[in-house]
Symmetry: C2
Subunit: 257 residues, 2 copies
DNA sequence: GAGAGATATTAGGTTAGCCTACTAATCACT
DNA sequence: AGTGATTAGTAGGCTAACCTAATATCTCTC
């Protein structure tokens, strides 16, 4: 014999016969009953609803998820129609998360950020690569995995980008911060967080030494027509000029001084 | 703002328009182009084909994958019909892996076993839980993840169950071993590997101190009608009696001595 | 070598999730 | 309040993976 593991493992999908009527569960359903896709809708609603958890439009969701508006409508109808709905959806009036939906969304965000932290701290990933990997894995790790990496990391409260990691109970600390791109009056700031949206930008940002917690001196600089932001990190002599585009990926907090 | 990551990430699926004809890629396609399901078929064929890579029947596959035979036929036809087929399939005469198919299957096995090792060594999972977690994650980790955990673990050659981990090049060391359940002549053996098929059994086996590399003295014991195997591990005084069922989950190598 | 029993294939149907094209509702502004 | 632009919803289609039921093929024994 070869030594490959000798048996499959009921992966939670499979037939699941319900009495007579031939029923079976489709393939990509996950432990908690959600699919990857559903999780992504929930995350998107959480994000777009913002801190006030306001109603989210179909259009916004479609854009964020890179999906046709009709697909969004479809999905929301299904989610809202379920016996234990994850969203409250009203025709022509957008959608908000239900309690359950918010719980799940925050759980996925927690997974994502714990994984990012883990990849960065334990597996020495370059910062700009953690997001993509986490984006996939967040849907597939077990509670045990979550618990173990959290323990290994000493139950961190923020991820390597500076974002708050929701607690197991589903609480996420909110912080007041502003975009570097919104600076008008020069001053001294602390880096709050950096965006993981664009790996390219992120590498650049990182290369400047701009990491969460760093102290920076910022001034608007309108060199060469296009305006940017000149940033001096810490006490270093070097000053970096960031484009508006890149400056949008950095969140900062003004030091009262 | 909340601080959730500000943008989605093209996850490799999505529209992918091809000129005029409206084409799009379905959802659960993965980086390398395979789906989880395809990977599982490949793994199953690799396992069932054994060391000689002999033809595998539809029935055997159906059983191993807990799927109807018709579904297997369907899938194999698709896999065989692709431009770069992963299997060679002949109507009514079973299936074998192609070069490419074998490569991929071994890659997935490598992922699986590296993940198991990682969970066991780094995250202190109990041995009987690593399989289930690995079974899910093996499909979703990147090459980088694989490389990083392999490095972290010092490029291990066997996993915690004692199974060989294929190399990146797709080589897997074969070992001569026998089932504990096939012992007739008593003697001294080294534990080769334990099966991860049944978590329950595995916990029991582990509790006896039966782990890969351990030296054991085995004797057939027909106590109380049902026959089993009495095992003394190392120099310990305690002797454990294992049922035939459990003994089938342990592979051993007879010590020449 | 013919028929029975085992095994495999075909045909037709399901759900999830996505798509496009078209229609309906709402909003924003005069 | 009317109207045009924007946004949302409906209808109908597609693929991946499953399913069952019916049918075809193979193999093995007599």
């Amino acid at each position: 014999m070869y030594g490959l593991k000798p048996a499959p493992f009921k992966t939670g999908s499979k037939l699941t016969r319900c009495k007579e009527p031939e029923m079976y569960m489709p393939t990509h359903r996950r432990a908690n009953g959600n699919t990857e896709s559903v999780d992504n809708y929930l995350k998107a609603i959480l994000y777009l609803g913002g801190r006030e958890e306001s109603r989210v439009t179909i259009k916004a969701l479609a854009e964020r998820l890179s999906v046709a508006p009709a697909s969004v409508t479809n999905m929301l109808q299904k989610l809202a129609a379920s016996p234990a709905p994850l969203v409250a959806y009203e025709r022509h009036h957008g959608v908000v998360l239900s309690q359950a939906g918010k719980r799940r969304a925050l759980e996925v965000v927690r997974h994502h950020r714990l994984i990012e932290t883990f990849l960065y701290e334990v597996l020495d990933y370059p910062i700009e690569e953690v997001h993509e990997e986490a984006e996939r894995l967040e849907h597939f790790i077990s509670e045990r995995f979550e618990e173990r990496i959290a323990a290994k990391l000493g139950h961190p409260k923020i991820d390597p980008h500076g974002h708050s990691i929701p607690t197991i109970e589903g609480e996420m600390a909110a912080r007041e911060s502003m975009l570097l791109a919104d600076v008008v009056r020069e001053g001294t700031f602390v880096i709050d967080s950096v965006s993981d949206r664009d790996a390219q930008n992120l590498r650049l940002i990182e290369a400047c030494g701009i990491t969460p917690g760093a102290r920076v001196r910022v001034r608007k600089s309108s060199a060469r027509g296009c305006d940017g932001y000149s940033v001096r990190v810490g006490r270093s002599a070097r000053v970096f000029d960031l484009s508006r585009e890149v400056a949008r990926d950095v969140r900062i907090i003004r030091l009262a001084k």
